[in-house]
Amino acid sequence: MDTILEIKDLTIEYVTEEGTIHAVNHINLSIEEGKTVGLVGETGSGKTTTALGILNLVPSPPGQIVSGEILYHGEDLLKMSKGDIQLIRGADISMIFQDPMTALNPVHTVGAQIAEVVSLHQDCSKEEAWNRAEEMLELVGITRERSHEYPHQFSGGMKQRVVIAMALACNPTLLLADEPTTALDVTIQAQVLEMINELKNRLNTSMLLITHDLGIVAETCDNVAIMYAGEIVEYGTLEQMFTRTAHPYTLGLFESIPRLDTDTNRLRPIPGLMPDPANLPKGCAFQPRCPYAQEKCSKEKPLTRDLGEGHLVQCHFAKEIGIEKRRD
């Protein structure tokens, strides 16, 4: 299977007066054609920054991409000229943003906003672009007539549908979905998610799904990357993650959500808070909160190891923890 996107050693920092914030630290990640990769982590772990980095849209200043390569079909997006990456944005790689309330421009009609991206990337007349926009609206379940309405006339869930229609209007090969359902009501969440999934399969689009909801991951993803303090601490297939969890942080995530299938009396949340990304601890970033931490963890940064079959983990004691966990 073809690899569409390959992120190598990506590091992104925000330089502010209070110090340098290490948002993304040396991450590696690849996405294959037609697959969905889930990027899971807490708020502030660098998920959104990674997605913005792929489109080279990290706000600068204060943000800057310090090192790394992002290969899209073998071409480095970070080395591309402004004009070239503009041709890719919206056409080959598009993004769904977290908050549909603010992602649409209030002074243009939704139809115009979708038609804009169509006529930008496709060689067509204004009428054709508008037609395509209306088609896309219908595809996401909004009637054609509403294309002349303004964003404030839509509800949150409807706005997110518009955003999705806009993102998919040019049949992108890669979709970056940044917590597409977080801002929506629970009842709408499932609908929207199902719709994204269905459209993605129909258009054979690959997807990077950013979320902090492991339930969503279990439903939609093929591969999962767990992000903590700007690093990918564990990566593997959905099965590997759920059955052979190896990183203590991932374990913590699973233990902090309620489960219906086992009889758990109480949740076990991860103690403490994520470290200040302006001043990360020495050694392993998770070590201050890790129940398995030993002396080595606070001194030496763990390297990424392969536990077999592409299951990658960044922990000194992953094997031991994995074995212990399975014994439980």
């Binding site: 209070e18 110090g19 502030g44």
Partner: protein, 294 residues
């Protein structure tokens, strides 16, 4: 993410009172501090004008008319041979005094009208707001002229004319902040203790609108100085021979073809005073509520 890092900062910093925190933030704002220094300098020079002035501001010497600046007369002399520096020092007293009076009256009036109207609401609010709308339909400068013509040209009348003009806008703003406070829970709490309305206004509403009031006071002082000198240009306001920056400037206009110091120096002072009060107001606004910072 950035916001998160920033918000974790104050934990490290020592906790200070609200006033100290404001002062600390203000002290870091270089333009505002320069402005504050200049304002203090203006006040000091107005207070100590009799000691600082090299000559009697009213003493005429017709042999010394239109002397260009030299060591004896650092800023030259005017059309009656009076020392310009001395006149500007004493003129600063009048300009500052009138603007302080005007701002005190307008802030006081606006506080009463704005907080009462905002607090009680209802028909009173509606009527007063419509009246203020009428006031605001007439451009400020024209309204000041009309008031000034009707009231007269003493220092107090001039201050009153300026104050009456600026009350509506300020009262409207204070009404808006009062409306926000009125529905807060601690007002409910105070009511449940049986506090009287005026006590609540005095104890709770006014202190909470203080931040915008202080900022506005600084801004309005600058505007008042401008308005006073503007009135003088039109022949209203403080009348010669009492020195006032505006009427010194106005007297210079006649001699613009031949003598430059008489229009240059008072204008610089008016401009600097306005700039300082504006910068100080901006600085105070940012220091009192960092969220408002643009």
């Amino acid at each position: 993410m950035i916001r998160k890092a920033v918000s974790s900062q104050p934990k490290v910093r020592k906790r200070r009172g609200r006033f100290a925190e404001t002062a600390h933030r203000l002290s870091k704002n270089i333009p505002a501090m320069c402005a504050l220094c200049f304002v203090v300098l203006l006040i000091m020079s107005a207070v100590f004008a009799p000691y600082l002035a090299p000559y009697d501001y009213a003493k005429q010497d017709l042999t010394q008319k239109f002397v260009t600046p030299n060591l004896a007369h650092p800023l030259g002399t005017d059309n009656f041979g009076r020392d310009i520096l001395s006149r500007l020092l004493f003129g600063g007293r009048i300009s500052l005094l009138v603007s302080v009076m005007a701002v005190a009256m307008s802030v006081g009036g606006a506080l009463i009208v704005g907080s009462a109207v905002g607090y009680f609401g209802g028909a009173l609010d509606n009527i007063v707001m419509r009246i203020l709308d009428v006031f605001m339909a007439i451009p400020g400068m024209l309204l000041t002229i009309v008031f000034s013509v009707a009231l007269g040209t003493t220092l107090f009348d001039t201050a009153l004319a300026i104050a009456l003009t600026s009350i509506p806008a300020l009262a409207r703003q204070l009404r808006a902040s009062t409306l926000l406070i009125r529905d807060q829970e601690y007002i409910e709490a105070a009511k449940s203790f049986g506090s009287s309305h005026w006590r609540i206004i005095w104890k709770h509403v006014i202190p909470n609108t203080l931040a915008p009031v202080i900022v506005q006071t600084s801004m309005r002082l600058g505007e008042a100085i401008l308005a006073i000198s503007g009135m003088s240009i039109l022949g209203l306001g403080v009348q010669p021979p009492t020195p006032e920056w505006g009427n010194i400037l106005a007297s210079g206009q006649e001699y613009i073809r031949t003598y430059w110091p008489l229009i240059t120096f008072p204008g610089i002072l008016i401009g600097l005073a306005m700039l300082s009060f504006n910068l100080l107001g901006d600085g105070l606004r940012d220091a009192m509520d960092p969220r408002l910072k643009k």
